[in-house]
Symmetry: C2
Subunit: 189 residues, 2 copies
DNA sequence: TGACAAAACTAATTTGATTAGTTATTATAT
DNA sequence: ATATAATAACTAATCAAATTAGTTTTGTCA
């Protein structure tokens, strides 16, 4: 029999890889078990259900993105920080299409484990506070940024834009758009 | 036996209603057949597969939205037209969460039937052309608007924002943001 | 009215998730 | 070291749902 020495991490990594190779909806336990060299039912020692696994993958994705952004922002501030954060998110979505799908599809109202609240949100919030923006406006801005970024990544993922690099240009263009809006709010004060 | 007098339309309407009641991923042939008073296998006289049905529902949704927007824009122009178009889309997504999910999840690169290209895109494009915006910039703007609108609707759908009406405020706020950006582009010329 | 196509049916197959029940492995505590 | 408990694997069985096969009914139209 010989144990496979699995932990949640390894399972999520493997499931994530599988999801990235095909898609979140094609992710299945048979394949996953195969990749891990165990039988499908054995997965239930680690995972509640397939659906729950997809959910876990969503949480995992947000954690990863949060880490990457936090790391990328060291030593950067102001507009550059916003640009960089957006860029890192976009890169992550592009590199991990399956995980990104999970992030886009699964309810985020259902709370994530306490350790990892929405780090991305948190970071963007701080960037707003570092400026002179009313709390109320910051909430709006945050929602707008998140919507734009995730929406763009989703459309790009599903091939709504040509894959000739012009999409990336549009994306940055839009980020600057929004940043300009942020500046306008500052001036208003 | 007695025929049920079904057509694609009726099936899509019923499937759409079911999807709206639960979600696109919970949509299933058993329930659908039940609602239509036929046996599940009989559905295959009208539909290629469950997955294809979801895809059809996506196309159906875009058609509906296109119609509604076209209708809503009669006699309106300029910024108001943009605002109205965005509003109508948002309303549709809110009223038809299941169909909207299909619209958000399914590949749009796979072409839609010739009769109904992306009408929404088409309309927004014309709104740009009515202004003095370079073709190239219009492409960017379009992508940005689409990303924002769909992204926002998606996040709202999954409960990322509180349901107290403030989300709607944020949405409109963002639309004005983007419209301001459009104006900036005009001035640049 | 008779034949053909469409649309329904029932029965069977397939696939994949999940559950039940069992056994081997590892860790822990005497 | 060894007994015991917990964990993680296994096989076999169940269940649900989509799909396929093969048949019958119904409506249309020559």
């Amino acid at each position: 029999m010989s144990r496979a020495n699995l932990d949640k991490r390894k399972i999520l990594e493997t499931a994530g890889a599988l999801a990235n190779e095909s898609s979140i909806k094609k992710l299945n336990l048979k394949q996953l078990a195969q990749k891990l060299n165990i039988q499908p039912p054995s997965l239930y020692n680690h995972v509640q259900s397939l659906d729950h696994l997809r959910f876990d993958l969503m949480v995992y994705g947000w954690e990863q993105v949060g880490e990457r952004i936090a790391e990328a922002l060291i030593g950067i501030s102001g507009d550059d920080a916003i640009r960089r954060a957006c860029e890192v998110f976009y890169d992550y979505a592009e590199e991990n299409p399956g995980i990104f799908e999970a992030m886009a599809y699964y309810n985020r109202d259902s709370k994530k484990p306490d350790g990892a609240p929405d780090r991305l949100t948190d970071i963007l919030f701080r960037l707003c506070r570092a400026r002179d923006i009313a709390e109320q406006d910051a909430v709006h801005i945050l929602r707008i940024f998140r919507s734009y970024i995730e929406g763009f990544a989703l459309l790009a993922h599903y091939g709504a834009f040509p894959r000739d690099g012009s999409a990336r240009e549009s994306f940055n263009f839009g980020v600057d758009f929004l940043i300009a809006g942020v500046h306008q709010l500052e001036e208003k004060k």
